[in-house]
Amino acid sequence: MKPELFTKDTTAIVYGYHVNAIQRMLDFDYACGRKVPSVAAIVNPGSEGYHKVFFGKGEVLLPMYGDFATAAAKHPKADVVVNFASFRSAFDSSMEALNHPNIRTVAVIAEGVPERRARQLAATARKLDKMVIGPATVGGIKAGCFKIANTAGTYDNIVESKLHRPGSVGFVSKSGGLSNECYNIIARNTDGLYEGIAIGGDAYPGSTLLDHILRYEAIPAVKMIVALGEIGGTEELRIVEALKAGKITKPLVIWVTGTCSTMFPAGVQFGHAGAKAGSALETAQAKNQALKEAGALVPDSFNDYGVLVNETYNKLVKKGVIKPAAEVEAPALPMDFAQALKEGKIRKATTFINTISNEKKEELEYLNIPISKVLSSNMGIGGVIGLLWFKRELPEYGRKFLETALMLTADHGPAVSGAHNAIVTARAGKDIISSLVSGLLTIGPRFGGAIDGAAQEFKRAYDAGLTPEQFIKDMKKKGIPVPGIGHRVKSVTNPDMRVTQLKGFCRKNFKKTTLLDYALEVEKLTTAKKGNLILNVDGCIGISFVDMLSSTGSFTAQEIDDIVKMGCLNALFVVGRSIGLFGHIFDQKRLKQPMYRTPYDEIAYMTDL
């Protein structure tokens, strides 16, 4: 195959939805001044659409396909596959890519690909005259042209190591981590990297150190070759043979790591799968020695690696073989918002304020109380309402009052407008949320609004210092019935037990029942006119609610006023009645009730009216 794998126009298909790696590839493109992003498409098995990504200062969309074949067909110019598939699926997906006529190079990132599979990949690539980089690699980079996945890390590092423009050095190593280290060494000691490949630390990489060294030999722009070998395997000995056969004429600086292994007990497995000497020939010492004898430039230790690279480079410059590559300024990459914020370089006004709960803590908190404590304190739903609605820890009678109110308002039969609507909607086949909401939407001045109305009106009258007589007169003048007064059937002689019980509870537990007392004075006057104009349950809840808040002593008059005006009492009714509405909805669904239609005889047709 042609020695050059990548150009400034090379585009890749990335297999696997690895957003960070994709972003880093495009950031590199920006550094190089590429016109077209190096990622043509993403394969995200089972999912398709578009992925939005930064390309320099702006954003671009990268198409995403559910399978490789479609991506390859739609993007015929892409000839590289960066394969992020896991060790389980890396073989099949890499074989599919290799066998596709468009694809020339496949980089396999996964660690833990079975050796037999890796050998099959390598042999297939050779048969098809294609290139496999990996498995178990970070990839590689051609300076100023194309970068595989996460190679060379961050933008700063790319610029620092001068990888955004080509130099004269071809590099290859097994280790991905060390390749980045070596790009740094090369940048500091030469005019920079031309291309660098990490073949991966497995025993049988798809392409070998020698494969890439021979490519560099054939690329005229590469003037010297730097390589890093490793204990284990006989790969470096093939380099020795190639040196002896005169196949490598460019200066080759190489060091084989793992010289310490002879000091170690047998059987120590180093970090890389292939890094284990199977015989004396495979030790680092033997390989370094053989390479040196064959004419490679071998330092005495890794400490001197950079020095030898530098000496070799300087000689080539002196000889005129290398004309040092010009320095090119890389464009500044706009800092990511998150990064800038983290470093304290920017600040941002928020759009929301929240003062009641926090899910960002170690544990969810309601008003600074961890949820576990909320549960263990047995504060009940009344206590939770206290925390989240009123931002107070209510006393027990307050919590009990709220829970009583919820129980009392939970349902009032199917005939009331809320339940009726919920039933009709449920029977129309709508979901539970729609059914619930259609019921809730009827709550207002005429239905369920009496609680809120009673609290508002009685409080207003009391605060204004109106006598009960003045209050009734005032309401009459306005032409509205006093909210919270009156019942369909109950009367003075046939009292509503719910009201009796609630009154008893308030008298017994509250420190004061000022507004309730006032309301009962009003009731005395109204019932004198008509027996059923009693303080009803809605009125009693609304009015005692105000007394409950005052009794706790932890709210100012202004705060109580705000709470009532905000409509908290309507909210209490909505929460309570939702329980009943759901009951009716489930009841209809359980009974598989059909669509409801109002019978004709329920409607007076008077169209000519």
């Binding site: 890390g153 590092n157 980045n180 010289t259 000091m263 970090g271 890794f302 950079g306």
Partner: protein, 434 residues
């Protein structure tokens, strides 16, 4: 994550089951293998394996070492009573094989096959190479194979080829030729399907018309476990003979197995004064090399590495384990901890350092008591934040921490730590112009 030796017991089981699919004479043979461990109850064993009472038996240690006959560790042609007695006498005993001493704790029992040594012992082995597997065959097996290595015939099976289309290079097996060829082809299929990387049967012999493998050595590629759950069954990977893993090594191995990242730890000398906590499979080797180059190989306490962007918690556990080990026994000369690494591609340096800093803070007192000096060198994503956190830690930790980034040569900290040169204050630069 590499080639691993397996017990003869399990190797034969996989082999016999696989061969039985094409060679009827192997059917049922996998059942006639019994493994004896320290806690094996003989009554239960006999109940599970009634054939033990009916046949003459072979017994031998099954702990990944060979030449058992030569070391007198082979019991042949005994009945159950004598076989059990033979095993009991050796169980738990320490023996020396070659240069390695180790305890005997696992034995294999199988039926004894009578055969004459001179006539019918053959040799077969299959070994993986990059482009092909090589099949080695010889009519002179057993202890004679090495002296007769020139009689061994080799066949290379290309990795993309099917064994059925490859012509075998066979030694003169006489009338057994067709039978052995069929056996070898079936054997190769089991080898390939079971992701073996090495398989040696030396010798195999004959019982009437049946082929009987006697001694087996096998290695498999453990990364293929996900493909081989059926073929392998519940396969164990024992440590090599005489090798013992410490509790801490096992602990790190257990974390390593649970994460996509890589965490490795080998204790070389628990009383060593030089401890490495290095990021990167490649860089960690170079740090160890450099310690040895500087003449401190005897002081090097551990080999290890963390890489592949491990979580803060995993890094913390790793660091804690190393710190705990290194502060157990004081040394008047003090100790050195090298927190090294190259320039990471994608491992978040600030994040992994957070885990290390947490562990260092927890071991503050022990570090001071043990007179530990810490040297840090690292680069990569968020390295500036990571390094400055380390420097800040140095102000309160009570032991000296020297911190360097990519501007300093990767292994320069090793020389600084081991060969402090007071005259030269500036560390070696990464070199060259910038």
């Amino acid at each position: 994550m590499a080639q691993k030796g397996i017990r003869e017991y399990e190797g034969k089981k996989i082999l016999f089951d696989g061969l039985a699919r094409s060679l009827p004479s192997f059917r049922g043979r996998a059942a006639k293998l019994a493994l004896v461990r320290r806690d094996t109850d003989p009554k239960k064993l006999v109940k599970d394996h009634p054939w033990l009472l009916k046949e003459k038996l072979v017994a031998k240690p099954d702990q990944l070492f060979g030449k058992r006959g030569k070391h007198g560790l082979l019991s042949l042609n005994k009945d159950w009573q004598d076989t059990w007695k033979w095993i009991s006498e050796r169980m738990g005993k320490t023996v020396t094989v070659g240069k390695t001493a180790g305890e005997l704790h696992t034995f294999l029992i199988e039926p004894f096959t009578p055969h004459s040594e001179d006539a019918e012992e053959c040799y077969v082995a299959i070994k993986a190479f990059r482009d092909f597997d090589t099949i080695y065959l010889s009519g002179k097996g057993g202890i004679h194979v090495e002296e007769n290595w020139d009689k061994v015939k080799e066949t290379n099976v290309p990795i993309l080829a099917s064994i059925d289309e490859v012509e075998l290079n066979l030694p003169d097996f006489g009338k057994r030729k067709a039978q052995i060829e069929e056996f070898v082809r079936a054997l190769y299929k089991v080898y390939a399907e079971g992701h073996f990387t090495y398989l040696e049967i030396n010798p195999f012999t004959f019982n009437g018309d049946d082929i009987v493998p006697l001694d087996l050595v096998a290695r498999v590629d453990d990364t293929a476990a996900f493909e081989c759950t059926k073929v392998w069954g519940d396969l164990e990977f024992p440590s090599s003979f005489g090798q013992k893993h410490t509790k801490e090594e096992m602990f790190i191995r257990s974390i390593d197995e649970k994460t996509g990242a890589s965490l490795k730890l080998t204790i070389l000398n628990p009383e060593g004064r030089v401890w490495n906590m290095v990021a990167g499979g490649g860089a960690s080797v170079i740090y160890a090399d450099t310690v040895c180059d500087l003449g401190f190989s005897r002081e090097l306490a551990n080999y290890g590495e963390y890489s592949g962007d491990p979580s803060e918690e995993d890094t913390y556990q790793y660091a804690k384990t190393v710190l705990d080990l290194m502060t157990r026994k004081k040394d008047a000369r003090g100790k050195v901890l090298i927190i090294g690494g190259g320039i990471a591609n994608f491992t978040d340096v600030a994040k992994t350092f957070k885990g290390i800093i947490k562990a260092l803070t927890e071991y503050k007192k022990q570090l001071v008591d043990n007179k530990v000096k810490i040297y840090v060198r690292r680069g990569g994503p968020n390295y500036k934040e990571g390094l400055s956190n380390m420097r800040r830690l140095g102000e309160t930790l009570g032991v000296p921490i020297e911190v360097y980034g990519p501007e300093t040569h990767m292994t320069a900290v090793v020389s600084m730590a081991l060969k402090p040169a007071p005259a030269k204050k500036q560390p070696a630069k990464a070199g060259g112009r910038k």
